[in-house]
Amino acid sequence: MLRITCPWCGERDYSEFRYGSDASKARPAHGTGDLKAWHDHVFLFDNPKGPHREYWQHVLGCRQWLVLERDTATNTPGAARSAREAAAKGGAGR
């Protein structure tokens, strides 16, 4: 069973969380008129078989959004940290 360590609540079953997609993508700036940039942001995924950085929300706990490192080939979770802090460091989830 995949267990995720929420920075606020501690280690929990993944079923308390909701998956929220790839966190390594940076959203185009507001006002960007280039439709190709938006298409690529919304629809294209690296979808790697291996390390992946992704958003999860602790819906049945503190309801905070986190950025989790997880290996999609083995399901081994790495560290989870606050999505807010990750965003403050520049770029979505970086």
């Binding site: 079923s15 929220g20 790839d22 439709l35 298409h39 294209l44 995924f45 790697p48 999609t72 080939a73």
Partner: protein, 419 residues
């Protein structure tokens, strides 16, 4: 050339057990070059190879399979075939597929055991009934069979559902497609493999594609664990692994890979005579010829390549089963397993060329790729042979999101795993 199966050949082998059945398909070493190389020996890859040879006379074809034929999703799904789709290109495409299924045992000289037992979709409130009525009307306008059922008719056909006042989701009615049903899944892979091999296609098992060879931006062949193979055209048909394989050519796809689990109970006497789907949740159930109840639900909910299911999904699927059919709470679950599927933003597939010359893609099948196998093979073979789409797969292009051509039959795509 494999011997054709017939009643006489069955009898001969039954009476003379000392004469073993010959191998169903050849097992050649790869040649250095082919007109077309197909990566992935699942249902779609094998069907494409067969129709390239049978419909287009392109027989210098190889199918490269990293495991053995039938080891992928073609052999690990819940085998439901139907054509009750409602929008745009889906309606005609899936109906063409069902028509091909109806003749497939004859076409391939291999019994795929199509069982047209009827699929019933249930409605649990009047507005769901309205949606089913609209869907049925659209199907009938396309010449596809559909009949609306009221509560009494459903009670007659499916007496084992919970109709009590305590039912969590009352049954208001349903819709039936009589021609829908199930197929023996391994037989599909074996039948196409045997028929393609007979026409000259090389089926190369235990051979993994590890990279593309490219010259001036064009794909000229592939690297494999059995050495390099040159190809005039290269076709990807690797089900849940499309992104991973396309990335080797520098291509990003509108796809995430997700797990779907299936479940089988201990065998019981005949109880469920149709394929039944629960309108209150994504849950469907049928009974196999061996007596086991076969069922499944939603994807696990996060991208993953581990091919191993997660316990919470077992619980939700079991809850669906029990709330619909209380009697199954007494049954033991014998087995469960998972397959990896490409999930696309609109829930529809890709059968198309790619921006890279000579590279073609069949993928993004989400929940619906088994029933699609014959039509997908047929139209993908057409696309690869002619370098342009068949009228039935024109809508399944890679650029449809740029062009506003989303094909969202459920009105939610697969995005519901993120909601």
């Amino acid at each position: 050339m494999a011997k054709r199966y017939s009643a006489l050949s069955l009898l001969r082998h039954a009476l003379l057990p000392s004469s073993p059945w010959p191998r169903a398909w050849r097992s050649p070493a790869p040649k250095s070059s082919y007109d077309v190389v197909i990566i992935g020996g699942g249902g779609h890859g094998l069907a494409t190879a067969y129709y390239l040879a049978a419909n287009h006379g392109i027989k210098n074809v190889a199918v490269i399979e990293r495991g053995y034929i039938g080891s992928g999703n073609v052999g690990r799904n819940t085998t439901i075939v139907r054509s009750n789709y409602m929008i745009g290109g889906n309606t005609k495409f899936f109906e063409f597929s069902l028509q091909l299924w109806e003749g497939l045992s004859h076409t391939l000289n291999f019994n795929v055991m199509l069982s047209q037992r009827g699929q019933i979709g249930l409605a649990h409130n009047p507005s769901q009934m309205d949606v089913l009525a609209r869907k049925g009307n659209i199907m009938r306008l396309h010449g596809i069979d559909a009949e609306l059922l009221d509560r009494g008719q459903v009670m007659k056909l499916l007496p084992y559902l919970d109709y009590s006042d305590a039912a969590r989701f009352p049954v208001v009615g349903g819709i039936i497609q009589q021609r829908a049903g199930t197929v023996r899944h391994d037989a599909v892979a074996w039948g196409y493999a045997r028929a393609a091999s007979d026409l000259g296609v090389d089926i190369i098992e235990n051979c993994e594609m590890t990279g593309f060879t490219m010259e001036q931006g064009k794909v000229t062949g592939i690297e494999t664990t059995k050495g390099p193979i040159r190809a005039g055209k290269t076709a990807i048909a690797v089900a849940g692994h499309s992104s991973h394989v396309a990335a080797k050519a520098g291509l990003r796809l509108p796809v995430e890979s997700h797990l779907l689990q299936a479940f089988v109970s201990e065998p019981i006497k005949p109880l469920i005579h149709h394929v039944v789907s629960f309108g209150a949740e994504l849950f469907y159930i049928s009974q196999s010829d061996k007596g086991g109840l076969v069922f499944g639900g939603h994807i696990d909910g996060f991208n993953n390549y581990t091919q191993r299911g997660q316990l919470p999904k077992i619980q939700t699927v079991a809850e669906c089963a029990v709330s619909l059919i209380p009697a199954v709470s007494r049954l033991r679950l014998l087995r469960h397993w998972a397959g990896i599927m490409d999930m696309t933003p609109d829930g529809a597939p890709f059968i198309c060329g790619t921006p890279i010359p000579n590279l073609y893609l069949d993928g993004g099948w989400c929940y619906q790729g088994f029933k699609a196998i014959p039509a997908s093979g047929w139209t993908f073979a057409h696309t690869v042979a002619k370098g342009e789409a068949h009228e039935l797969n024109r809508c399944f292009s890679l650029d449809r999101f740029e062009k506003g051509g989303e094909l969202d039959d459920h009105g939610a795509g697969n995005w519901n795993y993120k909601q």
